[in-house]
């Protein structure tokens, strides 16, 4: 988890759009029915007329299918974990871009709001337009020149929120400087 500074408040927590998760899940949901297709193909192509599975084929096939379903079940949750742990957190002072890559790679990029130089929201494609999700490109003056957050919902609204937070942060830092003088 991230550590916030004293008086630092979270303004926004953004995860990828649900469609991104469904798009990754969809092939697995199709693949889970593979044993049924194989069984159907086995019978249709005539293999079952001369190849038999032991004396109790139903049990063997059920075991193979259950094993297959379990592997798909695990894969679904691996994908969900990747989806759930990827998050963009905007506070009133900083932005945290947390990216989980697989199970053993995790990257956390942090930069101050006043270091932002440019924010671009981009929606590409028919589905993205209808469901209102897209990419957010944040250019900074820091070590990481650009951060791209892909497939987030309402990217234009989020861009506005980040811009607003950035303006507030800049104003506050100016006030602190004036007070300091």
């Amino acid at each position: 988890m991230i550590k916030l500074e004293r008086n630092e408040k979270i303004i926004l927590e953004v995860r990828r759009h649900w469609f991104m998760l469904v798009a990754q899940w969809l092939p697995l949901i199709v693949v889970v029915f593979a044993p049924l297709f194989i069984k159907w193909g086995f019978g249709t192509l005539g293999f079952s007329s001369f190849i038999t599975l032991a004396k109790h084929p139903q049990e063997i096939l059920t075991l193979l299918a259950a094993t297959w379903v379990l592997l798909v079940w695990i894969a679904l949750f691996l994908i969900w974990t990747d989806y759930y742990l990827d998050i963009l957190i905007v506070t009133d002072q900083r932005i945290f871009d947390i990216e989980q890559r697989g199970l053993f790679s995790r990257e956390i990029s942090t930069f101050r709001l006043d270091r932002i130089q440019d924010i671009t929201a981009r929606i590409d494609g028919v589905i993205a337009t209808f469901l209102d999700f897209g990419d957010l490109h944040i250019q900074t003056a820091g070590e990481v020149p650009e951060i791209v957050v892909r497939g987030i919902p309402n990217p234009h609204k989020i861009r506005e929120s980040v811009s607003r937070a950035q303006n507030t942060a800049i104003e506050q830092s100016r006030m602190v400087r004036i007070d300091g003088v």
Partner: protein, 101 residues
């Protein structure tokens, strides 16, 4: 079922193909007999694999998860689904063992 040209679809005769190629004799049957012990060991390996993956997943959910309710719900769904699948595997293994003996 029809082909693109409109002719009725006839599946290829694999049995005839294998017999013509001399791979099988007419009337031959291939019977796969699977020893129940092998199935039990395989199920054990599968369970071990599941436990290892689950430990890694749960570690990630607990360590990096953002909301306790989401993580708890995910765990409930994940383990409930896995329980159902393993129950099917166990019942099938027992039925197979009884049927063989």
């Amino acid at each position: 079922m029809e082909t693109a040209s409109g002719a009725p679809f006839t599946p290829p005769d694999f049995k005839a193909f294998f017999i013509d190629s001399g791979f099988f004799k007419e009337g031959a049957q291939i019977d796969f007999f699977v020893n129940p012990k092998i199935l039990w060991v395989s199920a054990g390996v599968l369970l071990l694999f599941f436990v290892i993956i689950s430990l890694i997943l749960v570690y990630h959910w607990i360590t990096y998860g953002y909301k306790a309710t989401t993580v708890t719900l995910a765990m409930l769904v994940y383990f409930a689904g896995a329980f159902v699948i393993f129950s099917v595997i166990l019942i099938t293994l027992l039925a197979y063992g009884n049927a063989i003996s």
